[in-house]
């Protein structure tokens, strides 16, 4: 099946989509956004440094029609989400977002009800548009690079005025082997520093639940879950997090979850491998100290 990947130039995201594409074809084509070389070997490649989804809809639609693609793959991101719905109307195509598994015969799996259930749907026509949830497919190793032609005729419906990337010290959440996440149970903003100290000892990263982000204790870029980052560390410490299914949706592929919560009935203990029922303020400093001494 003729497959097109649409993605920012990011080897990890492109690598995951490459893995998915192999379920449909040998070598996919790509529309790559951003500057730099396109990593990996593709059939045809188009590129532009324009990255606002709303401005790309008509030029991308034209290419998909011209080349007769069967499957269009994007990851769940502001780009993928920004394009998926509009493309589906422009192409009269079925769209399935947040895909976590692909079965034969165009049957696609995705979570519903905050990950409490899984729906299977069959795509009944092509082209079909899929956005893929991060960390559910292996990152394919991308050999070489592909020369591209310019993607042109881009509209200017929406103007990009400024872009800010947050400075993150240390390891990004998505790559961290140990994550220490705080929730609303942390109680005050300052105590996130306590979690940072603990994460530092493990050479890990700090994450947060939506509860903590809503309180303004952690930046939205730190949110983990269905609508935040999807992570897959070896150890995930959930501190003062109740374990809502939408939070758990972001840590499904973590190897070991350690829950520290003062409520023994908290749902997080149903997902945790190890649980400590306690006020986190009594445990986290002791744990941090112990690892420090152990080094």
């Amino acid at each position: 099946m003729k497959t097109l990947i649409i993605e920012n130039i990011d080897p990890k995201k492109i690598g995951e989509l490459m893995t998915v594409s192999r379920l449909f074809c040998d070598i996919p084509d790509i529309i790559a956004l951003g500057e730099g070389q396109i990593p990996g070997l593709f059939g045809k490649a188009w590129q532009t440094d324009k990255t606002v989804a709303a401005n790309l809809v008509s030029s991308v639609t034209a290419i998909i029609k011209q080349e007769n693609y069967d499957v269009i793959l994007m990851s769940v991101s502001t780009l993928g989400t920004g394009l998926a719905g509009p493309l589906s109307v422009a192409l009269s195509a079925p769209v399935v977002t947040e895909v976590t598994f692909v079965h034969p015969d165009m049957v696609i799996e995705r979570p519903v009800y905050g990950g409490k259930a899984i729906i299977k749907q069959k795509l009944e026509s092509t082209p079909a548009i899929l956005t893929i949830r991060r960390k559910y497919f292996e990152t394919a190793k991308l050999e070489g690079t592909t020369e591209s032609v310019l993607l042109d005729s881009i509209e200017q419906k929406v103007k990009l005025v400024a872009e800010k990337h947050e400075q993150t010290e240390g390891i990004p959440l998505e790559d961290a082997d140990v994550i220490v996440s705080g929730g609303r149970g942390i109680g005050v903003s300052d105590n996130f520093t306590m979690l940072q100290h603990m994460a530092d000892q493990f050479n890990g990263a700090v994450g947060a639940s939506r509860g903590a982000v809503d309180e303004g204790w952690a930046s939205p870029t730190k949110q983990i879950g269905q609508t935040g980052k999807i992570v897959a560390p070896s150890v995930y410490f959930a501190v003062g997090i109740s374990g809502a299914s939408q939070h758990l949706a972001g840590i499904a592929n973590s190897k070991c979850v350690v829950a520290i919560n003062k409520d023994e009935d908290a749902n997080i203990f149903n997902r945790a491998r190890f649980g400590i029922v306690c006020d986190y303020k009594k445990i986290v400093p002791v744990l941090t100290q112990a690892i420090m001494e152990d080094r």
């Binding site: 989804a53 795509l123 609508t227 350690v258 749902n267 190890f274 029922v277």
Partner: protein, 251 residues
């Protein structure tokens, strides 16, 4: 100026996984119903914009007539009226067609706000479909919104930070959560007043179904194997935890 907010009533999204149950491939009817969480963020954003731009605010929903009682919470938060398109479909194409019908019916909508994701279907796709049907721009994951001299300036929350984007309306924005749009709790007086606000009911249409066939909906098995570590003595607890983590080769 007229702002519309799209809001969906969904089964209680806080039900823990262990208690979740299906009937006819959907959440069991026994679960209570409520406004979607991100839809409440969108309503809150709409109300703040209404204040800043002296706009009127309409909540639009496609769903069951019996859900009007839950939509009234949104009205009580500060909307002026409610439009309900009656229907039962979960198909994103059909939902968008029906929401479009409501918007066409209102005629003068300048900006449309939606939630980032519905709290049952979790897909974040309806607003983008609707925008393309209306021929307007769609911007997902918007936090802050400002209006100056005919231009909308919005901040899009990305995985790595923020983007400031500018466009001329109308447009469809899906709203994410930020500390500034945590939904307000309506005052008792507002709840009573909301009961008197107008509700326009429209009959739904069955057009626009996506070429997607539903095969199954299943609840994944959850294996609970939590090993509780005694926390009486924090030093001992930490020691046991670290020992167990290294025995099992997690660290």
């Amino acid at each position: 100026m007229h702002i519309a907010v799209l809001a969906k009533v969904v089964p209680d999204y806080e039900v823990p996984s262990m208690d979740f149950e299906l009937s006819n491939n959907r959440a069991h009817e026994r679960f209570s119903r409520m406004l979607g969480l991100y839809d409440e963020n969108a309503i809150e954003t709409g109300i703040q914009l209404k204040g800043k731009t002296s706009s009127s605010l309409t909540i639009i929903s496609y769903g069951l007539e019996s859900d009007i009682q839950f939509l009234r919470k949104g009205v009580a938060m500060g909307a002026d009226k409610l439009v309900l398109v009656k229907g039962t479909s979960d198909d994103a194409g059909i939902i968008a067609q029906n929401l479009k019908q409501a918007i066409d019916n209102l005629e003068d909508v300048d900006l449309i706000l939606a939630g980032q994701q519905s709290a049952d279907m979790d897909r974040g796709v309806v607003p983008g479909i609707l925008a393309q049907m209306l021929g307007t721009a769609f911007i997902p994951q918007v936090g802050y919104i400002d209006y100056k001299n005919g231009d909308w300036t919005v901040s899009q929350m990305t995985a790595t930070g923020q983007r400031e984007l500018e466009f001329q309306g109308p447009g469809v924005l899906s709203i994410t959560s930020i500390p500034e749009n945590v939904p307000r709790i309506p005052a008792v007086r507002a709840i009573f007043a909301a009961k008197k606000k107008p509700v326009i009911k429209l009959n739904g249409i069955e057009q626009g179904k996506m070429p997607l066939q539903e095969i199954s909906v299943e609840i994944p098995k959850i294996e609970s194997v939590c090993e509780f570590i005694d926390a009486q003595d924090p030093n001992e607890a930490v020691k046991s935890l670290l020992t167990r983590l290294s025995e099992e080769r997690y660290i």
